[in-house]
């Protein structure tokens, strides 16, 4: 559908200096915040107050800061879930759906075997989440590898199907009995919950997410697989002539990406909700897509972007409380950030490494 070679030729992060990167991201956000402030001001709100409140709450209070980290955890997963397929030139917009299916399979495991000890149940749930996400990602990539349907449109359509399937189970077979009001599954047993730290809601998912990010960095930079994946993404023709199995790489990259998104679902319901609810994700998958695009798949960028976007999404709660704006208004800020990167003004242009 599109040529991705221009984008992939830009991927120079393998040899980038971290300081430059940090400055670049800060500059992007400065511009985005100014543009967002103008829109808020046009809507008759006080932009300085809104942004000030956001920063004070998120960076100035321990409770607020820990919530930023909590919000960052699923974004780390979903950003990698998009980044990995994008290395081979696949556009995975379906992390949202993969996350839902992963949460569903993980919840099924937790509800089916509640009496297992934590050391057995948590890995089982993680495995179920990985499998669920991978299966949901397999459908679009299989269709793509067969040359039937472009993966961008199929993953988008499937994002609408996955939450419906979750709702079907939560309102139907998995619904807690006796709880008439809220449609949700029964609470998970204690052994099905990821441990949290420091008396906050920050849970083990953070460590797992950082670990996966580290593995992603290592594989892309130091292994033959990383090199071959970049070859497939950069120039499929020459990759094929060099004997790289393209279809295999496409399918594996997408399914592993989907699996990681599924793990995001598992970590959310196990670490935060302790039950499965319908529509529990406020668009983590889409936000992850955005983060990867902003970071050009750079692991350090993904880490920084997840953190900054987590601050912004926490700001959404503030906007809702103090300015009486709907939470969704936040998407404007996310969109403007992406616009700034896509429009590539010359002073954000990456210097040739």
């Amino acid at each position: 559908m599109t040529t991705l070679t221009q984008i992939h030729s830009k991927i120079t992060w393998i040899n980038k200096k971290p300081v430059q990167e940090v400055l670049r991201y800060l500059a992007i956000f400065l511009v985005a915040f100014i543009l967002f402030g103008i829109i808020l001001w046009l809507a008759g709100k006080n932009p300085i107050e809104a942004i000030y409140d956001t920063l004070v709450y998120t960076l100035g209070t321990p409770g607020g800061f820990s919530e930023v980290i909590v919000k960052m955890i699923p974004l780390l997963f979903t950003a990698i879930a998009v980044a990995l397929p994008s290395r081979v030139g696949l556009i995975n917009v379906g992390a949202e759906g993969q996350l839902y299916i992963g949460a569903l399979t993980a919840a099924s495991a937790a509800l089916a075997l509640p009496d297992l000890p934590a050391w057995a149940l948590l890995p089982l749930m993680a495995g179920a989440g990985l499998l669920g996400g991978a299966l949901w990602a397999f459908i679009p990539v299989w269709l793509r590898a067969r040359g039937l349907v472009n993966e961008t449109i199929s993953t988008l359509l499937m994002n609408y199907i996955a939450p419906a399937i979750v709702s079907f189970f939560v309102y139907g077979p998995l619904r807690a009995t006796g709880v008439a009001s809220a449609p949700q599954t029964p609470d998970f047993s204690l052994s099905a919950r990821l441990p949290a730290f420091f008396g906050t809601r920050i849970h083990l998912g953070l460590i797992i997410g950082l670990l996966i990010l580290g593995i992603y960095w290592y594989v892309m930079k130091y292994t033959r697989w990383g090199l071959e994946m970049r070859a497939v993404g950069g120039n499929p023709q020459s990759a094929r002539r060099n004997g790289i199995p393209i279809s295999l790489y496409l399918i594996l990259a997408m399914c592993i990406g989907g699996a990681i998104a599924g793990l995001a679902g598992m970590s959310e319901i196990s670490g935060i909700h302790a039950r499965l609810r319908p529509n529990f994700s406020p668009g983590f998958g889409y936000t992850g897509f955005l983060i990867n695009w902003l970071a050009f798949g750079d692991p350090l960028g993904i880490l920084l972007m997840s953190f900054i976007i987590a601050i912004i999404t926490s700001g959404g709660d503030i906007l809702q409380l103090s300015q009486g704006l709907p939470y969704a208004v936040l998407n404007i800020l996310l969109a403007i950030t992406l616009y700034v990167v896509l429009a590539k003004p010359s002073f954000f242009e990456r210097k040739k490494a």
Partner: protein
């Protein structure tokens, strides 16, 4: 299942198919000029919200429809600036526009959630006046529904029977050649995107002002993406897009039919029928579609010096 219930289902299928057909027609001309707009979902949301707001403020649905069309056109200009002038990736720019639409429509619509509006008058389908009242009420449509097939014919005429349409298709096939032949690819793409945005705005206006007569966040529920999929289904042809919209309307009708007939199926699974069906149709078409897609669809035109 009475005949009356069946007609009711048919009628609501026509209502839900109309907004989709307008949007799909817009995407057909956009893609014919070589631009994939995944931001249609956002464009529709902004149009639906602003059209609804203007209708509520002025009490005049026609002004609301006009506002929705202009809002759609302008949103597409923002998208156009990225993909045409700044030469950004179309898919990513489209998704950015989708986010923008999520946010801006929520901001515009915030004070109109649950508001009531005047809608368009509805006319009986000509020649059915002799039917009993309970039947004729199923055949009353607003002018946007009557206009949708003529608009599809108009788009077809524009694309295949005018010099401008020829230039547009040439840009979509090979912008460099079109430039060499004296066309201005950038200008043509901007105009096309504005037209496409107005058509998407019309579809969105029909959804919020006429069909549901309410505003709520994310009310388009993926119709923008389904429109993109239906363009592939219709093989980039405006008249086949009518069949695509009927198919979607049929899926919605089937969904309502099952509910009306009392079959116990989860409403959530029924809701996913249109998406699943769209995906299945794309699969069935997959083998052949490459021959009809505009050759430079999604490519950046870097300009000829």
């Amino acid at each position: 299942m009475s005949l009356l219930a069946l007609l009711g289902v048919l009628s609501s299928a026509i209502y839900s198919g109309t907004s989709l057909l307008y949007t799909t027609l817009g995407e057909v001309i956009g893609e014919r000029a070589g631009i994939v707009n995944l931001g249609l979902e956002g464009v529709m949301l902004i149009s639906a919200a602003s059209g609804f707001a203007i209708t509520h403020i002025t009490g005049n649905p026609y002004l609301g429809i006009l506002a929705a069309m202009i809002a759609g056109g302008l949103t597409n200009m923002l998208f156009g600036y990225l993909v045409i002038t700044r030469k950004a990736n179309q898919l990513a720019s489209g998704l950015a526009t989708m986010f923008f639409g999520f946010g801006l429509s929520a901001l515009i619509g915030a004070s109109y959630v649950g508001a009531k509006i005047e809608s368009l008058p509805r006319f009986l389908f000509p020649g059915l006046g002799y039917l009993p009242v309970q039947y004729t009420s199923q055949f009353k449509f607003d002018f946007l529904i009557y206009l949708v097939v003529p608009v599809a014919l108009g788009v077809w005429f524009l694309l295949y029977r005018t010099r401008w349409g020829l230039g547009l298709r040439a840009v979509g096939e090979n912008a460099d050649t079109a430039y060499a032949a004296g066309r201005n690819p950038h200008l043509i793409r901007y105009i096309t995107l504005f037209l496409a945005g107005m058509l998407a705005g019309l579809g969105a206006a029909h959804l919020s002002i006429v069909y549901t007569r309410t505003w709520k966040e994310f009310m388009t529920a993926g119709r923008g993406f389904i429109a993109v999929a239906l363009v592939i289904f219709s093989k980039w042809h405006p008249l086949r897009a009518i069949a695509g919209a009927l198919l979607f309307g049929g899926a919605v009708a089937f969904q309502l039919l099952l509910q009306a007939s009392g079959v116990k199926v989860s409403p959530f699974l029924l809701d996913s029928i249109p998406y699943a069906l769209t995906l299945l149709v794309l699969m069935a078409w997959g083998g052949t579609r490459k021959h009809s897609a505009p050759a430079s669809l999604g490519r950046v035109y870097h300009g000829s010096e």
